[in-house]
């Protein structure tokens, strides 16, 4: 009889030991990890699309001018240098892909279908009440439940270690995630002239001079887009003025192109502006993960102020998803308009 008590204590002790470990992530947190990974990958694709769309808008502006010069009997230059060097583009794409890889690495530690460690604890707790009373013997049904629960022991031990290690990895990576988001944010820039914020500083030095402060000078992708759209619209409008006596069909198709160009500019700017919001949400969502995994809290060392991307507690990730769900359709529409596709 005493042996049964010993066994009871043995199992009870094991359960207390296991359930007393660091608080494990909930099913929701595991879903959040998966969602975070998907979102960062989507963000990387989106950023790449923005660069391509901007280059396409630039090329379209040059083509419009060249075409009109030819039609007037001129001999225009056919040079059409891309806006950015190969190196500048590749370094930016390298960063967004590294961010995506980071998200995928997070997710790889939590394969789909895996039982969250929180649920494993739940299994132990369920079993404890009725199975571990060995004083009256063990029924076959209860043995089965016990064996099944114990088979998760290794899984649980691994989960606890993983979660604590992950807290450290997330904390260590957080300043870099912030810096990456800030760099991408400043690159996207602003279409408005806010150069009074910058004094005589050149924009290139602005980032390092005022890190953590989001006042932008003028510039970035959004202002370059504005210039490309304005240049193209100006050339189309000039063509329309010169087409006063042209066939109505020719004029109509030019008017359509004018409106499509303006619309593509508005939509692409909107998409870029939403992407900036996504970048804020990315930082907020990563902060939430840092909090959940109990990583070192280093708010005072954070580059971006606490208000950036702030939302109701724990909702940054879902807000980021909502924004990202809209953007691919928007960018596809933009690409179709710039290229003149139906």
């Amino acid at each position: 009889m005493c042996c049964w008590f010993d066994k009871g204590y043995l199992f009870g002790g094991l359960i207390i030991l296991l359930t007393g470990c660091a608080s494990p992530p909930s099913t929701k947190t595991l879903q959040d990890i998966a969602l975070f990974s998907e979102n960062v990958t989507a963000l990387a694709d989106l950023f790449e699309t923005h660069i391509e769309s901007l280059e396409a808008a630039h090329l379209a502006a040059l083509k419009e001018n060249t075409s009109l010069q030819f039609d007037l009997g001129g001999n225009p230059t056919l040079d059409a240098e891309p806006l950015f060097s190969y190196e500048a583009k590749s370094e930016r794409l390298k960063l967004v892909k590294t961010l995506a890889l980071y998200g995928q690495n997070l997710q790889s530690l939590y394969p789909a279908g895996q039982i969250p460690s929180g649920d494993i604890v739940g299994q132990f707790q369920k079993v404890e009440g009725h199975v571990l009373d060995f004083s009256h013997g063990v029924k076959n049904k209860d043995q089965l439940a016990l064996i099944q629960s114990l088979n998760g022991t290794a899984e649980y031990l691994y989960s606890s270690y993983r979660d604590s290690q992950l807290g450290e990895v997330i904390s260590k990576a957080h300043p870099l995630v912030e810096q990456a988001a800030l760099l991408l944010y400043v690159d996207i820039g602003s279409p408005n002239d806010q150069s009074s914020n910058c004094g005589n500083e050149d924009e290139a030095h602005y980032l390092t001079a005022r890190v953590g402060d989001f006042r932008l000078c003028r510039g970035g992708f959004r202002n370059m887009l504005k210039q490309a759209i304005t240049a193209r619209v100006t050339a189309i409008r000039q063509r329309l003025l010169l087409l006063k006596n042209a066939h109505p069909y020719t004029r109509q198709s030019t008017v359509d192109r004018l409106y499509d160009t303006q619309k593509s500019g508005r939509l692409l700017d909107q998409s870029m502006q939403k992407t900036q919001e996504v970048l804020f949400k990315l930082v907020a969502a990563h902060r939430e993960l840092r909090h959940v995994y109990g990583g070192l809290q280093t708010e005072e060392a954070d580059l971006m102020p606490a208000w950036s991307g702030a939302s109701k507690k724990g909702t940054a990730l879902s807000e980021m998803s909502d924004l990202l769900n809209l953007l691919p359709d928007l960018t596809n529409e933009v690409a179709a308009l710039i290229e003149g596709r139906d």
Binding site: K7, L95, L109, Q165, A204, R218, M224
Partner: protein
């Protein structure tokens, strides 16, 4: 770009010139003038974009520093995965022990 001008000053001058050219009614010019206007607009547009791209390009060095630092987290993830692999082997022993205990229990 004239010497001594910052990017921002040069950009402002080009934007001003661009605005003035945009105001010009192309239909009022002779054919040769129309072509010259378009050439000037293309030149100024290209310069505005070049200056703006330059500001962005100058930040490329910062990108060059951040990407490898972030990539270092790969090693931390690998460490966890390596541990998991070893834990999996040890785990088989733990689970085996659990099954052994259950066999013992079934004897009573």
């Amino acid at each position: 770009m004239p010497q001594g001008l910052t990017n921002n000053d040069a950009l402002n001058r080009y934007l001003e010139a661009d605005h003035l050219l945009e105001m010009q009614d192309i239909t009022k010019l002779p054919r040769e003038g129309q072509i010259r206007l378009l050439e000037a607009q293309r030149y100024i547009y290209t310069e505005i974009q070049r200056l703006q791209a330059q500001s962005i390009e100058e930040r490329t060095d910062i990108y060059r520093e951040v990407s490898p630092e972030l990539k270092k987290s790969e090693a931390d993830f690998q460490e966890i995965r390596n541990w998991a692999e070893q834990a999996s082997k040890a785990g088989e022993a733990v689970d085996g022990l659990a099954r052994g205990i259950s066999v013992l229990l079934s004897l009573f």
